[in-house]
Symmetry: C2
Subunit: 188 residues, 2 copies
């Protein structure tokens, strides 16, 4: 069966992070759905862009994806981390040994806040790691510990998107796409 990936969106999500990941995945024909964690598809991003998700998380709560991705955005990541449905969804994917990919402040506000990291290495934006007593913060752009893949923030979103895409698409195709869009900063 084809791989299925979800990206979880709450109001205040970092739009550049979410959109670059969706864009790169769809260029590579990796199935990715944007799931709104609220009761409506329409969301307002960190910098006030209205966008529509593909489906509601509550209509996908029973689905097990191959990877779930969460973007940052100061309020967007907090909204994810404050949602019981999101925390349950993340726990289910951790338990099933699926990829869990919190980017930017989602590493802190979703994962560390809810004690979902334990002793795992992770990264997150700024000093957010100081807010919580969970996880083993590492000062690197992208940190891979098993199936937990974290990244620092917006400026490394292409590297992060290609790193994740390479889990689900042939490496030659991913490298071709990076070259095709003139992105030369990613080393697989």
């Amino acid at each position: 069966m084809d791989k299925q990936v979800a990206i979880l969106l709450a109001d205040g999500f970092e739009e550049g992070e979410a959109i670059i990941i969706l864009d790169i995945f769809r260029r590579l024909q990796i199935n990715i759905e944007a799931l709104s964690i609220g009761n409506q598809l329409e969301l307002t991003s960190y910098h006030n862009v209205k966008m529509q998700a593909d489906a509601l998380l509550k209509d996908r709560a029973a689905t097990l994806y191959d990877a779930i991705i969460m973007p940052g955005g100061p309020q967007g990541a907090r909204n994810l981390g404050n949602s019981e449905e999101v925390v349950e969804f993340v726990k289910k994917h951790l338990a099933a040994d699926k990829y869990v990919c919190p980017f930017c402040s989602a590493g802190a506000h979703v994962m560390a806040k809810n004690n979902l990291l334990g002793s795992k290495k992770y990264t997150t934006s700024g000093k957010n790691y100081e807010l919580y007593n969970d996880g083993n913060y590492v000062d690197q752009n992208i940190v891979i510990e098993g199936k937990l893949i974290t990244g620092k923030g917006l400026g490394v979103v292409f590297e992060y998107a290609f790193t994740l895409a390479a889990l689900f698409a042939p490496i030659d195709k991913v490298k071709w796409e990076a070259d095709h869009i003139y992105f030369y900063h990613w080393q697989p």
Copy 2:
């Protein structure tokens, strides 16, 4: 008066290009409006994300912006270049010596297609420059000729966004923001 910037969007616009530019500009408090060239605010991007523009181009046709930006996307850029309203809007801004910033395939499908370049240097994505007999194609990531600023495509959108932002925000602030988001590939 504060500077005003517009980004023109048509169905099929490259969402990563448009959103990163909006994101960076809004992080730097530069006024930027997303204008839909059609009759409704809602647009569908290249990779099928529904987004809403801030206003309609037809309601801003009399406005002179300090810069107008156009993203690529194979069909999105063609839709811009096939619109009489867009071509008139670009001509008005060229005549008024405002910044005109066609990114990715918009350099070809909007500018060269409508003979808006003359002998000016520009860049565009792929081999699109071969389609039209206008402008002086240069194989560089970003090309600045007076107030015409072109860029190759998605993978250099951060460099392009920061280059444009530095026209309207203090350089120290722009450099701070690049650093803040962990983007280290831009040299002002």
